[in-house]
Symmetry: C2
């Protein structure tokens, strides 16, 4: 009886997030409840509230953990930066599929905005105008989010032809980047001289 859960390590936000993540990955987002997490940790539900404001804060924490895994985009060209970022976001979120409904439902701005800034920053570092960088990030973000919704549904339905899903995703990504070529190659107006 090595792993008795009762009052071993003290409760902490980290341990609570660990337990929550394990539950969601094993049993799906709908299995996540304060009481269930507490049971997993050998306490009562109310003990969690010393480390986490409420259930939503716990969900935000879960989302942040996943989104923090997205790598900063690399690539020689803007086109390549966009392609690698888009694939990286999709891959990361696909590897955490059961958490996806939580990520998509949790208040934006926080973590999802953060990963957008990864691409936006990389594009602006190539001299792209801020507005163009924001537009491109927004459009690619929408395409990724929609793809994940469909792919999540497909896998929940059990009909997962991963190759076919990959092919469709790449087809759309190609089309998008092709269609955005004009924006991708546009140089910013030189800053107007004051006088």
């Amino acid at each position: 009886m090595a792993t008795s859960r009762r009052s071993s390590t003290p409760l902490s936000r980290e341990r609570i997030l660990d337990a929550a993540q394990a539950i969601v990955l094993a049993e799906g987002a709908s299995a996540l409840s304060m009481r269930r997490v507490a049971a997993e940790l050998g306490t009562g539900a109310m003990s969690l509230y010393n480390h986490v404001r409420d259930k939503e804060a716990l969900q935000v924490g879960l989302a942040e953990r996943v989104l923090a895994q997205v790598e900063v985009p690399v690539g020689a060209s803007r086109h390549e930066l966009c392609a690698t970022w888009t694939r990286s976001v999709r891959r990361t979120l696909l590897a955490n599929q059961p958490i996806l409904p939580i990520i998509l439902s949790v208040p934006r701005r926080s973590a999802l905005g953060e990963i957008g800034r990864l691409l936006g920053g990389a594009l602006m570092a190539t001299g792209m105008a801020e507005r163009d960088a924001r537009d491109i990030t927004a459009v690619l973000g929408r395409y990724i989010a929609g793809s994940l919704v469909f792919e999540g549904a497909a896998s929940r339905r059990g009909d997962v032809d991963a190759d076919e899903l990959d092919r469709t995703f790449e087809l759309g990504l190609d089309a998008l980047l092709g269609g955005l070529e004009a924006v991708l190659t546009r140089e910013p107006e030189p800053a107007p001289t004051e006088a």
Copy 2:
């Protein structure tokens, strides 16, 4: 006291869906519960189960109602068919924003697949190969779904610059259709003669 709710018209799937829809539109998807719907109709929760298998079936019914409003796409060219269908789906779902989380979470295949077939059918009627029609529908569907996720989040957050959201959406749609031009203009292989 004209509108007493008690035992007026008999319960029916239709009346239950009406009540459910009203609740979601007024108070959001999270306010939907069997007990709440029943209360609205002046009965106990269990009476609903004579007309609706369970809560999920009720949600599917709600999703189908909204998706049934999507118009069959019209347009002289394939490009135009795609553009009007995409805008029509977005417009319809945006007009029912509070129901969107339900539509996106409910098992696919049923109603969402149906509206995809509207565009797929229209494209194939122009002589497009089935596989191309499916690809285009899939990519546009992903883009719409992702856009609605972001726009729903923005409106939940209160920062809704509708014009800016429209502009971003159109920008992505343009890019997508531009990038899909090769597929859109491709004619199907002539059916190989048997001998």
